[in-house]
Symmetry: C2
Subunit: 318 residues, 2 copies
């Protein structure tokens, strides 16, 4: 069973009420009405054996779990207000190593101005970190996956494929440039970009692309019931990544669909797009149009219909 | 290093701001101001090898992780509004078993009227469940551990030691009555009792006693800088539990300090106590006075100073 089907199956019939604003499993994070506020909730759990290659430092492990959670809030257009983390620690674990993970989380929280408010620690067979990010949605519209409409422009917030290339470089023990390595080892969450789009109140769609670009495009296409056309040449890809793909005989589409990039995929009305682009650029960010939304179904790469198979959480990786 | 010292050490220097209403590690849950609301956040992570004895059904595992988290909200006096769960699943895991865990969580959420809004699933070496409960504090005062004052009455919300006795019965493979077994296998969170105390606005202290009664008394005593006197005979203990302790030559204090009871320990002004007791009884709950708060330090059992050593998360249990 693929991850998507699996999630659909387990989220069917979960207890809910009128305060729940998005269906479980349907978006990057849960949204719950609390008085006049909308609280956005997400959790991302990671295990040493599947998520952290040996080359990662403990500080980088702490950063990764934090960014993975913040990126889910960014994808909703939410402003983060709290971070929590629950840990499973093997009995052989060195306390100083654990302190370095905490320090990696804490410095990321400081960088994003988000209080690190609590957590839990227990004994476990392998190093386990469950991160929890909490945000709000004041003066903003939720960037639901189902908000994409005919006439929208599809865009991404930065280079795609760099993180995957950095990861492959590490796994193949190849020297890759620092900026490529850092896309994987020292990622960034696009909180600012998500906020600007959500605050523009143009009913945009958003999702992060950590599970692969084409997978995310397909998610927005099926949730919104629209056809999405992507132009391969418009996708921003670092020159080194193109060279790396060629050198290893890997089609560039495959690199773009590995995931690990904490960039946002956005869909916004073409009439408002230029203004949005200006706002994001003025705030020091980036947004690159890569395609269009049409009436119909499915996703098309250079006018050819494709069937994307994103990263599946149930495949072993490291 | 004991759990308490460990938590103090890792929570020192965590990034914070003025919206954070309780210090990390200082209470059962985190409290964060969001607009006019107070949002209460807690996470409790559990692993098959340390938290779930083989006799537990998958539904009971689901219930336990949910109640453990709800109990932390109850201890703050919070009204739960959302539950999330992140899972680590071994590749050998049967999907139908996982569905039964989800069903155990979902039926507990339904019982407490709390939407189950989302989560995460990943591959892991052992079954892992990270629960997250989110609550609010409308019209209520946080039941901080530091709120206990000279003149307060110390009370508990139900029988103590039953869950520990049920657990020991299971581990020793002994037949114990169903109600004792259920205190361990089918626990209850004292949301209603916590809410009534918090809504009374008498600046009461609260904590759950899952880590042992005397440990919790000691926590409130040191956080509030008061002396607490407990009378052993006043502690409500099931007749069977007393018999079990005698039969196994275990001092009753030891049974009371094993923990696992999701009851609340409360400290409230003696002037208001009777009224509080009436309200809780009228709502179908219980509250039993077990001692008093005085000027000074330390905790006293039958007028004798004691040094409680609560359950330590870093000891192996099953």
């Amino acid at each position: 069973m693929g991850e998507k089907k699996f999630i659909q199956y387990i989220t069917a019939g979960l207890f809910s009420n009128n305060n729940v604003l998005v269906k479980p499993g349907a978006d990057d994070a849960a949204c719950v009405k609390v008085g006049n506020e909308t609280v956005v909730l997400t959790t991302d759990i990671m295990f040493l054996s599947t998520h952290f290659p040996v080359q990662m430092t403990f500080e980088q492990i702490g950063r990764k779990i934090t960014i993975a959670n913040l990126s889910d809030l960014a994808a909703m257009g939410s402003l983060p207000i709290s971070f929590l983390a629950a840990f499973g620690l093997p009995s052989t674990y060195e306390f100083r190593d654990f302190k370095r993970i905490i320090s990696g989380i804490n410095s990321t929280c400081r960088e994003y101005n988000i209080p690190f408010v609590g957590g839990d620690t227990k004994k476990a067979k392998e190093l386990t970190i469950s991160g929890i990010a909490v945000g709000t949605m004041q003066n903003a519209d939720i960037l639901k996956r189902s908000n994409s409409r005919e006439g929208d422009i599809i865009a991404v917030t930065g280079n795609i494929g760099s993180a995957a290339c950095g990861m492959l470089g590490l796994l193949k023990n190849e020297k890759v440039p620092r900026k490529i390595l850092n896309a994987f080892l020292h990622p960034t969450a696009r909180i600012r970009e998500g906020r600007i789009v959500a605050e523009s109140k143009i009913k945009a769609a958003g999702m992060d692309i950590t599970d692969g670009l084409l997978y995310s495009v397909s998610e927005i296409s099926s949730a919104s019931n629209v056809r999405i056309d992507i132009e391969l040449d418009k996708i921003p890809v670092d020159t080194y990544v193109r060279k790396f793909a060629r050198g290893h005989g890997i089609p560039i589409e495959q690199i773009l669909n590995i995931g690990e990039d904490y960039e946002l995929l956005l869909s916004a009305d073409s009439k408002h797009f230029e203004k949005l682009q200006d706002k994001i650029k003025n705030a020091g960010g980036n947004i690159h149009p890569i395609g269009n939304v049409r009436k119909g179904k499915g996703i098309y790469l250079n006018k050819k219909k494709i069937n994307p198979n994103g990263y599946d959480a149930f495949k072993t990786r490291f």
